[in-house]
Amino acid sequence: MWNYKILTGCLLWWCWTSKGNAFHRQATDPQEVRVSKKIAFDFKASPEIHIYLALKYAHIAVMGWAKDSVKVEAEIIATGMALTEANRILERVTLGYDYTPQKLHMQLEIASQQQIAKKNDNPLGNIMNGLVQSLISNPAPTHSTSADIDQHNLKILIHIRLPQGAIQQIENRYGSLELNGNFTGKLTAHLFYGNLKAEKLPYGQLEVSYGEAHFKHLSKATANFRQSSIKIERAGELNLQSSSTTLEIDSIASLWLDSRNDVATIKRAGKLNGKMQFSNLDVGQLGLESNLETHFGNLTVQKLLPSCTTLDVMARATNVKLEHLPSDTHYDIVVKPEKWQAPERLLRLERQPFEGLKGHVRLVWNEGNAKRKIAIENREGILIMK
């Protein structure tokens, strides 16, 4: 009798627990369905082929190779809780392209959900011409109709191999761009909410907003960085306009800067010219010359190398700090005496009132054999020399 009761109890317990576990699994480990479209093509191309990409949400990897051909592989992957849902997401995304040996055009279009609904009314609407559809996991019930896209349920991966001399014009929003290989052609890139990574660029016209960019070697470029974080390891000539950006440059031969509200660190610069407003600029070593116009913010120059010939700063309400004062230099300083911090011997130098600027004085002196010139006119700002 007791055995029967124990057995029934065990059976009921097993049923209850197994049912509970089943519900739990369904709630926390739902089966996702992934569907994808793949596009692949290649063609013979001119060594200086023009590439135009107008994309969104795409992760683009471009590789330069020593061949006279282009190879493109693209995959659009949609994930949904049901096959219908995944298909609807996939259906909204169209990657168009056309090419000749001289040019390649690719553009991405995302149809609205209403357009898809209308298209679905048409029995021909579901046909995806020229595309391979692959069902990766098991099919699930087709009850969901949502086609909202987000970064978790849509991935667009594009891999392009190009001749190294290709001239590229790439626009991508909410995605990323990575360039590898020894390119010799010009790159025009416009990234909005997207990251850019490049190994070696001979000539670039770059626009990065709300993203991160990393360049290993940038020979010559015109760049506009906004609200971004930029790291350049080595650069030749850079014409830079930037705002609200964190900029880190390890080494640059020549930089023309128009900076606003940036935080910039340059470890070593040859020529450094331009203007900045409300920016903090920290220069580690200055190799050749610098002419800067600053408005508010902070400027620090840690060291002038022996090769440096000129440091000319016109500062307005900027805190300027000049460390490791070099010898063999002609100094010409305009400052408010109460805002000047310097070694005692300099504070004892003869001062002349500076005409046209009330409360400011001018100090001119030589240290050793004057091979270089340091001229700083700091209106209203603090000047620290040590």
């Binding site: 969104k56 949400y57 909204r92 995302i110 609205s112 959900q113 086609a147 909202d148 896209i149 987000d150 970064q151 849509l154 929003r173 909410y174 909005f192 909410y193 907003s209 709300y210 906004r226 609200q227 705002s243 609200s244 606003r260 509200n261 407003q277 409300f278 408005h295 508010f296 913010g297 309400a317 408010k336 109460e338 805002k339 209203e380 603090i382």
Partner: protein
Amino acid sequence: MEDKLKTWAQQHRKEMDVFQAPEFLWERIAAQLDRQEKTRQYWWKNAYVRIAASIVLILVSATFLVLYQRQLTSENTLQAAYPELKQAEAYFKPIIAAKMRRIEQIGDKDLLNLLLEDLALLEKDYQTLAKDLQDHADNRQIIQAMIANYRSRLQLLERILNQLEQKQQDNVEL
């Protein structure tokens, strides 16, 4: 100086009272007047033209009205669909306006122009985001970016204002 016409009229006043204009003269004048009336037919007085113009006017007005209505609807739909966007706008806009007023008081004209340029760029970014929202793709991220856009405007103004006020304070202390 003597008025020649007046003098001539005074000298020939009597002749004017005596001589009559020839009959054919009035006929010629009347004939010319008829011809001018016939040739001067204004196209805009044509009834068909008037009807066509009215239709065009109504169509143009209706188009503008519909477009305006659509724009309003889309803005309202956007805010209705994403209440957090409305909340962010309600929160940030007055603060941004107040900071801007403060900077106007203590900053100079050049500085204001630069600041307005930067704010215009941020506004342009906002419009791009709003446009991309119509893709219904990754809207959560875009909405977050739109809210962050307001935050960036505020941070920009706060940073500038802090430096301006710091400078002002330094000058007072010294």
